[in-house]
């Protein structure tokens, strides 16, 4: 049983578990989503705060990861919607992004990360949740409020868009 679903655990212990397990993953996800480190930091803090406050209402209908990512996606959407006018220029452009640590199998991870960041939000969401968080299409559908078939369609569209940005064959080169 997940720690969140065990009513015997106190909320502080659950929060500690969530932070220890998901904080960095969440931070990177929010950064990719919002393209701004400070906004991502705000999003992570807000996500955990919302999760902590919502713990009494969590019924265990989905996994703790799905539940947390649903909160995170909503927080990111909210931040992006609220502040996108300011974010356009604060976003990390490709020339400002840090150099990759090393080349990997002949392809450049910087290009791939930059391409993901450029995706329209609805495609970026599924790429992050499916490929990075290894969530199933059903779980992603629950988190985003759409059907699994819509998720599947968006994943295909996102991959096609990535190939379009990076060049055909790039993802498998």
């Amino acid at each position: 049983m997940e720690i969140v679903k065990d009513p015997g655990n106190d909320h502080e212990a659950i929060l500690t578990h969530l932070v220890e397990t998901y904080e960095v993953l969440l931070f990177r996800t929010c950064y990719m989503y919002l393209r701004d480190r400070e906004s991502a930091e705000d999003a992570v803090q807000e996500t955990f705060l919302k999760a902590y406050k919502a713990l009494p209402a969590f019924r265990g209908d989905c996994s703790e990861k799905t539940w947390l990512m649903k909160i995170a996606v909503n927080v990111c959407r909210d931040i992006r919607r609220s502040s996108w006018i300011r974010m356009v220029d604060r976003r990390a452009s490709l020339d400002l992004l840090p150099e990759p640590v090393q080349e990997y199998d002949g392809w450049n991870s910087l290009d791939l990360a930059g391409a993901i960041m450029q995706l329209p939000v609805k495609w970026k969401e599924v790429v992050l949740l499916y490929f990075y968080h290894d969530m199933t299409m059903r779980e992603i559908g629950e988190a985003l409020g759409v059907s699994a078939s819509v998720v599947s369609k968006r994943i295909k569209q996102a991959c096609a868009k990535l190939e379009n940005i990076l060049g055909r064959g790039y993802l498998h080169g």
Binding site: V24, Q45, A54, S82
Partner: protein, 296 residues
């Protein structure tokens, strides 16, 4: 497609992409502190009471700061906001170019003083003064008479929902510096001059606004509350906007959607006419800006 290979690539790309996205050892404590403070105060952070004298001093100081700020570049204030980084702003000053534009409609005034253009990024700082709730929608930018294709290299314009200035009917005149910025798909060579044209649509609620609690996102009660406000002929706006930002006009679950240039979705989230009708607003005017910039 080799899905496992692609997952591996994406994991590596994201994991190595933000080296400073690290764990905060005080995260749990910070969350608990905030939660407990909010609990004690019924959901809001307590602000310490100040003496009259301190308030007066603060007002004088703020007035000076505001006066200084308004003498400074609008576009740099817009780009950096409260997090103004003096060093970064200084490095960008070379690309800031003056524009003289003033718009007046009754008590609503709009002033454009300058813009930033480095050939790839273009931003315009706009000063607004208004005596009523005002919602701004920025339309696409035209360069040399052509719409910029924003669906390719940059996702920065995948929505026209610019946010803006809204408030309940008891509304004091305010001044605010806002702006628009774009990342061009095709950079303009340095030294080249371009003719820029842009439109900003000004919306205002017909019968006033009503705040809706958005603390419990995606909760049926929240969507029902938004619909109830609409049915009363008012404009639903968020009651608890975070990060010190202006409240947003809210759109109910049934109408929610994303602006996708490839789909036929024309809901209020990305269509001015639909938003006006949906949120009980009216179009006050359209501000048309035309000016020239040189890629610096």
């Amino acid at each position: 497609m080799d899905e496992s290979k692609l997952k591996e690539q994406i994991h590596y790309a994201i994991d190595t992409h933000c080296p400073s996205c690290t764990a905060d050892p005080y995260r749990v404590q910070r969350v608990l502190n905030t939660a407990h403070t909010m609990q004690e105060t019924g959901g809001t952070i307590v602000k310490k009471k100040l003496s009259v004298c301190l308030i007066l001093i603060a007002i004088v100081m703020l007035s000076s700061i505001v006066a200084l700020a308004y003498n400074h570049s609008y576009v740099l204030q817009y780009l950096f906001g409260k997090r103004m980084d003096a060093d970064k702003a200084q490095t960008m000053e070379a690309q800031v170019q003056p524009i003289e534009y003033a718009y007046q409609n009754g008590a609503i005034a709009c002033t454009v003083k300058d813009a930033y253009f480095d050939g790839e990024k273009i931003a315009v700082g706009i000063g607004f003064r208004t005596d009523r709730p005002l919602y701004l929608i920025g339309k696409e930018l035209k360069l040399n008479g052509e719409w910029i294709d924003y669906s390719a290299a940059s996702a920065s314009l995948d929505a026209v929902f610019l946010g803006g200035i809204t408030s309940p009917q008891t509304f004091d005149p305010i001044e605010e510096i806002t702006g628009v910025s774009y990342l061009l798909n095709r950079p303009v060579p340095k030294g080249e001059e371009v003719a820029v044209a842009m439109e900003i649509i000004l919306l205002t609620p017909v019968n006033g606004v009503e705040k809706v609690d958005t603390e419990q996102e995606d909760h049926p009660a929240m969507w029902a509350a938004i619909d109830a406000v609409r049915e009363k002929g008012l404009t639903p706006i968020s009651a608890n906007e975070q990060f010190g930002l202006s409240p947003q006009v809210l759109i109910s679950n049934a109408q929610h959607g994303y602006c996708d240039p490839e789909s036929a979705y024309h809901g209020p989230y990305c269509n001015v006419e639909a938003l006006v009708e949906y949120a009980n607003m009216e179009v006050l005017d359209t501000v048309k800006l035309e000016f020239s910039l040189v890629a610096q």
